[in-house]
């Protein structure tokens, strides 16, 4: 399995999760876990996804989600999982 973490931060609005999930389905990215909260007054969502079946390069996914974020008016980041697991797990 090839995991990545997608984070969405911004002002809450209708349909953010739907738009992101539609994009992921289209690119054959499987969602493993979703958590969502309001942090410092902002909509804050984290998804753990499996990108091993994804069509296209990982960098295309990073750029594609970034552009989608610009469209919706939120910040979407997609990062390989290891940067978080290495930092927070011994």
């Amino acid at each position: 399995m090839n995991k990545a973490v997608i984070t969405v931060v911004g002002r809450d609005a209708v349909g953010i999760i739907a738009r992101v999930c539609a994009y992921l389905a289209e690119h054959r990215v499987n969602v493993l876990d979703i958590s969502q909260t309001i942090l410092d007054g902002f909509f804050n969502m984290m998804m753990i996804v499996d990108v091993s079946q994804a069509n296209g390069e990982f960098s295309e996914l990073v750029d594609g989600l970034g552009s989608l974020g610009d469209e919706i008016g939120v910040r979407i980041r997609c990062q390989r999982e290891e940067i978080f697991t290495k930092m927070h797990r011994v």
Binding site: S35, N44, M46, Q79, E82, M87
Partner: protein, 454 residues
Amino acid sequence: MLNIMEVDETNKMIEQEKLDVRTITMGISLLDCTAGDVDEVCERIYRKIATKAHDLVSTGQAIERDYGIPIVNKRITVTPISLVGAGACQSPEDFVRIAHALDRAAKEVGVDLIGGYSALVSKSMTPAERMLIESLPQALSETDIVCSSVNVGSTKTGIDMDAVELLGRMVKDIAYSTRDNDGFGCVKFVAFCNATDDNPFMAGGFHGVTEGDVVVNVGVSGPGVVSRALDATRGSDFETLCETIKRTAFKITRVGQLVAQEASRRLGVPFGIIDLSLAPTAAVGDSVGEVLEKIGLAQVGGPGTTAALAMLNDQVKKGGIMASSYVGGLSGAFIPVSEDKAMIDAASTGNLTIEKLEAMTCVCSVGLDMIAIPGDTTAATISGIIADEAAIGMVNQKTTAVRVIPVYGKGVGEVANFGGLMGYAPIIPVNQTSCEEFVSRGGRIPAPIHSFKN
């Protein structure tokens, strides 16, 4: 499984607290590029660097994108050029031609800086090493991204005072030859005692002769992250403070370790070391001085500064050491005045003097770094500063260094601008009492005794 708070913490470190990987540095041995003819040496050097480092920058960029962590610099270090050019160079001008070859090759592969235009003369200079040192004013003013270092002493050999005396004059000449840019050439030169073979930071990085053919070293950063973490420790005792610094250093270093392993795997080059340094920039919130102030100083430079820095340096190492399989380089906290907002402010108000900085170098990871001094400072005085700093390193078995910039046409209170990561610095006063007779005696200071530690 990961939770949202952990993910948020990491991304805040990157976005708000300026966590970055300061440099991926590829060390390349040029020992197989020696020849009897300078042109041939230049050609071999160019070809080897262009081949080995061909994918360095693109790989660095791909890692940045995949993990969402900025990698600020991609750099190269090479074998000290005094060794590579010794068989071919008959004059300082011959060495300058090699400097140009390094500059061209580094630009070809797109790196930010290349280090290793260096000489290791801790006991004495060979004719080639003397020529390389004499070539520095021309080499550093004619090239853009070549960095140079000279190791003038070590705990095992003592201090080569002939080299120290020569370097005082050369630093003045480098400053003069780049006087239109506030002596920028001196930013690219550092004099060392106990230089390390695997330092990924500039200007002092070179690829030691004990290293393999090609290696990847990584330098991490993160004073901003430590500073933010300390906000939660105001008023708490040293145990809590130290624990917080250690935990933060651990997290920062783990990111460096991940990037180093990835770079090593993708480039097919062995991983060398992680340098655990807190490397500041002149940006607000990315300052080692600010960390010291949060530890409890009204301003860096006052009493307590040396103790606070000693503690910080030690905790950074203790936290980082477990996060990486190989730690090396300089590893600790840097105190480059022009690259650190709080230090710039303290130097401007006169609170941070060169004498206090010298005391701080006894406990920090390097030395007198990025300090702008009056342009009329004599060569002998600069040699004296280098000798003092080298003595601290020699006796205390640590790396020390001097990177001072005499700024022609400017005096105390004026500001030197170096641009970008190199920052800006107020020119601070230097004690001008003559040491001419001392530094021009000739010969070397013997190695210190290794017992009777008092």
